[in-house]
C-alpha cells in the first residue's frame, strides 16, 4: 500500500483519540451517578452547559478567573445537592426508567434556567491555550487537544484518588457494589448521593470549560451528551475504564470514518456514526466492553 499516507493516518488517529478524551470526560460524569444511584443522568449535558455559561458570564463581568471557577463550582455543588433533594429523593425506589425521564425534565429546567439567567448569545471562552498545532515527527498535533487530554487525565487521576483514599470514596464504592448492604451497615445514602452529584457537577464544570473553549459557550453545548451516550453504551454505563476506552474508540473511529469513508456518504456522518459503531458492538457483546454480565434471577 504505497499510496497510503501513514503520516496523515496517524494525524487523524491522534486527533480522533484526543477528541475521544473529551467524550470520555462527559461520559465519566454519567458513570459516577449511574454507579451509585442507578440513574442515567441525561441532565449531565445541561449541567455542563450551566457550568460553562455561569463561568463565562462571571468572567465577562470582570470576576477573576480563579474566583469565577470557585463560584461556579460552588453553584454546581448547590445544584447537585438540590437535584438530589428535590428530584431524586421523592423518586426513591422508582424504576430506573422513571428516574431517567426525571433527569430529562431536569435537563429542560437547567437549559432553560441557564439561558434565562445568562442570555442565549454565544460566548467565547478563552482558557489561555493557543490552538496552534505543533509538529512531532511530521505529525501535526493540536496543542489545545493535548491540553484537554491532560486535564481529563488529571481529573480521572483525581477521581480515582478521591474514591480510593477518602471515606466518601469508600462509601461510594460500597454503594456502587450493593445499595442494600450499604444501607444495612449504616451508610447514609442521601449524603453519598449528594456528594456524588456534587462531584458530577465538578466533572460537568471541567468538561464544560473544555468543550466551551472548543465550541463556544452556547446552547448546543448541552448536546455533547449525545456524544457521550454511544461511549457509555460501548463502555458500559457502570464502568469508568469503559468510559475512557469507549471514548477513545469512538473518537478514533469517528474521525477515521469521517476522513476515509465519509465522502462515500456525502459527509456529515459524525451525528450518527458513533451510534452505529456502538450498536454493532453491542449486538456482539450486549453488556459493553467492561460492563458486568448479570445472572438473571427468577
Amino acid at each position: 500500500m504505497s499510496g497510503f499516507d501513514w503520516q496523515f493516518f496517524v494525524e487523524v488517529l491522534i486527533g480522533g483519540l484526543l477528541s475521544g478524551v473529551m467524550y470520555s470526560l462527559v461520559a465519566i460524569g454519567f458513570v459516577l451517578i449511574y454507579k451509585t444511584s442507578g440513574v442515567l443522568n441525561f441532565a449531565q449535558g445541561a449541567m455542563l452547559l450551566f457550568a460553562a455559561l455561569t463561568f463565562v458570564s462571571l468572567v465577562e463581568r470582570g470576576v477573576p478567573f480563579a474566583l469565577a471557577l470557585i463560584i461556579t463550582f460552588a453553584v454546581m455543588v448547590v445544584i447537585g445537592i438540590a437535584i438530589e433533594r428535590v428530584v431524586l429523593r421523592p423518586l426513591t425506589n422508582r424504576s430506573p426508567m422513571t428516574l431517567f425521564m426525571a433527569t430529562l425534565g431536569l435537563s429542560y429546567i437547567l437549559e432553560g434556567a441557564a439561558q434565562l439567567i445568562w442570555g442565549t448569545q454565544v460566548h467565547g471562552l478563552d482558557l489561555g491555550i493557543d490552538d496552534v498545532p505543533f509538529e512531532v515527527g511530521g505529525v501535526l498535533i493540536s496543542q489545545f487537544d493535548l491540553f484537554a487530554a491532560a486535564i481529563a487525565a488529571a481529573l480521572v487521576l483525581f477521581l480515582s484518588v478521591f474514591f480510593r483514599y477518602t471515606r466518601v470514596g469508600l462509601a461510594f464504592r460500597a454503594v456502587a457494589d450493593d445499595q442494600f448492604a450499604a444501607l444495612a451497615v449504616g451508610l447514609r445514602l442521601p449524603r453519598i448521593w449528594a456528594t456524588v452529584w456534587a462531584v458530577a457537577g465538578l466533572v460537568a464544570l471541567v468538561a464544560g470549560l473544555l468543550w466551551g473553549a472548543r465550541l463556544g459557550v452556547q446552547f448546543s453545548l448541552s448536546l455533547v451528551v449525545l456524544k457521550a451516550l454511544p461511549v457509555l453504551v460501548l463502555g458500559g454505563f457502570d464502568s469508568i475504564p469503559g468510559a475512557i476506552v469507549g471514548g477513545l474508540l469512538i473518537g478514533a473511529t469517528e474521525k477515521l470514518a469521517e476522513v476515509y469513508i465519509g465522502e462515500y456518504f456525502g459527509g456529515g456522518t459524525e451525528s450518527w456514526f458513533a451510534y452505529v459503531v456502538a450498536l454493532a458492538f453491542l449486538l456482539i457483546r450486549p453488556s459493553g466492553i467492561f460492563g458486568q454480565k448479570l445472572v438473571e434471577r427468577v
Binding site: L40, V87, P90, L91, R94, S95, P96, M97, T98, F100, M101, A102, L104, G105, L106, S107, Y108, I109, L110, E111, G112, A113, Q115, L116, T120, L226, L229, P230, L232, V233, F237, F265, G266, G267, G268, T269, S271, W272, Y275, V276, A278, L279, L282, L283, P286, E296, V298
Partner: protein, 357 residues
C-alpha cells in the same frame, strides 16, 4: 413503572362507547361551527397530530415497555414518504400515499427495533437515538427526498379525497380528525387484544412472558412496527394538515422528547393518555405566553418565553413523575370515579333493595 390499565368497573355503568361517541359528535358537528381559525391552526391541528404520535409511542413505550427516544425520526419518515409517494406515483390517491408512508415508517421501525431483541433498558433507549440522527441526516443529506428543494424543505400537496378538497382550516381539521379517530380505534382494539396483553407481559416480566409461551421477539417487533406506522401517519398529518411546509430540522431530538413527554404527562399505557398529554403540551405554552406578557409586559419576549417554556415543561415532567406517575388520565379517572360514586350514592338511596348489575 406500574400503570393502571384496567380499572375495576364501578357499579354505576356508563356504556363504554358513550364517552368517545359524545366527544366525536362534538368534534365533528359542533367544533367546525364554533371554532375560530386560530383554534384550528394553533391548537387543534397540532393537538391531533401530536396525540396520534403519542398513541403510537404509547404502544411501544407505555404498553410494550421499549423506551424510544427517536419518535421524531418516524414522524419525519412518514412526512417525507407521503410527500414522495404523492409526488412520484402518478394517480396514487392521497389516502394511498398516507397508508404507504405508514408502511415505510413501520419497515424502518422494524429495522431500528432489531436491537431490542438483544438490548434492554437504557442500552435500547440510547440505540433508538441512532434512528433519530440517522434519519435526520439522510433526509438532509440526500436532496432526492425533498425533490431537490433548498435545505430539504417540502410543501404539502393539496388534500383531496375522492374529489372532495380539505384545504381550508376546517377541512384539514376534519381530515386529520378522521384519520386520528380511525387509528386510535385501531390502537384501542389492539391493546385490548391478546397481542396487547403480550405487550404488557413483555414489559412487566420478559422472562416469565417467554416461559409461558409469549413470542417475545415477535411481540417486540410488532410493537415497533405498529408504533412506527402510527407515528409515521402522525408525521403526515403534522406536515400536511398542520405546518404545510416542513424541513428535516423540524423533526429533531426535541420533538422526540416532546412526544415522550406527552405520554408521561398523559399517562403511560393509556390510549386516552396521549390525548390528555398532547392537549396539555399544546395549550400550556399558549397560556404561558399570555400569562407572561400579561405579568411582565414587553420584558417577556420570545426568547424569555422559549426558556420559561422549557423550564415549565421540565418541571411539569418531574412533578408528574413524583406526584402523578400514571399521568393526567389517572387524575381524571379519580375525579370521575368520585363523581360516579356520588351519583351512585344518590341512586342507592332511591332503591336500596335492588341489587346492582
Amino acid at each position: 413503572m406500574t400503570v393502571a390499565t384496567f380499572e375495576a368497573s364501578a357499579p354505576f355503568h356508563i356504556p363504554r362507547w358513550l364517552a368517545p361517541f359524545v366527544v366525536l359528535s362534538f368534534a365533528y358537528i359542533a367544533v367546525p361551527f364554533i371554532g375560530t381559525n386560530y383554534l384550528f391552526e394553533a391548537i387543534l391541528l397540532p393537538f391531533l397530530a401530536l396525540s396520534l404520535a403519542g398513541v403510537g409511542l404509547n404502544i411501544l413505550t407505555g404498553y410494550a415497555g421499549q423506551v424510544s427516544l427517536g419518535s421524531a425520526a418516524f414522524l419525519a419518515v412518514g412526512a417525507f414518504a407521503a410527500y414522495n409517494f404523492n409526488l412520484r406515483i402518478e394517480g396514487l390517491p392521497l389516502i394511498g400515499s398516507i397508508i404507504l408512508s405508514g408502511f415505510v415508517a413501520a419497515a424502518i421501525g422494524i429495522v431500528f427495533g432489531l436491537p431490542s431483541l438483544r438490548l434492554k433498558g437504557f442500552y435500547l433507549a440510547v440505540s433508538t437515538l441512532a434512528a433519530q440522527f440517522f434519519v435526520q441526516w439522510a433526509l438532509t443529506k440526500f436532496s432526492w427526498f425533498s425533490n431537490d428543494s433548498a435545505s430539504g424543505v417540502i410543501d404539502a400537496p393539496s388534500l383531496s379525497i375522492a374529489g372532495i378538497a380539505f384545504n381550508g382550516a376546517v377541512g384539514r381539521y376534519i381530515f386529520s380528525l378522521t384519520i386520528v379517530s380511525l387509528l386510535t380505534f385501531f390502537a384501542y382494539r389492539l391493546v385490548s387484544s391478546q397481542t396487547g396483553r403480550n405487550f404488557i407481559a413483555v414489559r412487566d416480566n420478559e422472562t416469565a412472558a417467554r416461559i409461558i409461551g409469549v413470542p417475545v421477539l415477535k411481540t417486540k417487533l410488532i410493537a415497533f412496527a405498529i408504533s412506527s406506522f402510527i407515528i409515521g401517519v402522525a408525521g403526515v398529518l403534522w406536515a400536511f394538515t398542520y405546518l404545510r411546509t416542513v424541513e428535516p430540522a423540524g423533526f429533531n431530538l426535541d420533538r422526540s422528547f416532546q412526544i415522550l413527554f406527552i405520554i408521561i404527562l398523559g399517562g403511560l399505557a393509556s390510549i386516552r393518555g396521549a390525548f390528555f398529554g398532547a392537549a396539555l403540551l399544546v395549550v400550556s405554552p399558549l397560556i404561558l405566553s399570555r400569562l407572561g406578557s400579561f405579568l411582565f409586559g414587553d420584558l417577556f419576549n420570545s426568547g424569555v418565553l422559549d426558556m420559561s417554556q422549557r423550564i415549565v415543561l421540565g418541571a411539569l415532567i418531574i412533578l408528574f413523575l413524583i406526584l402523578e406517575p400514571d399521568g393526567l388520565v389517572s387524575l381524571w379517572d379519580r375525579i370521575r370515579k368520585r363523581s360516579v360514586a356520588r351519583l351512585n350514592k344518590r341512586k342507592h338511596v332511591g332503591r336500596a333493595a335492588q341489587p346492582t348489575q
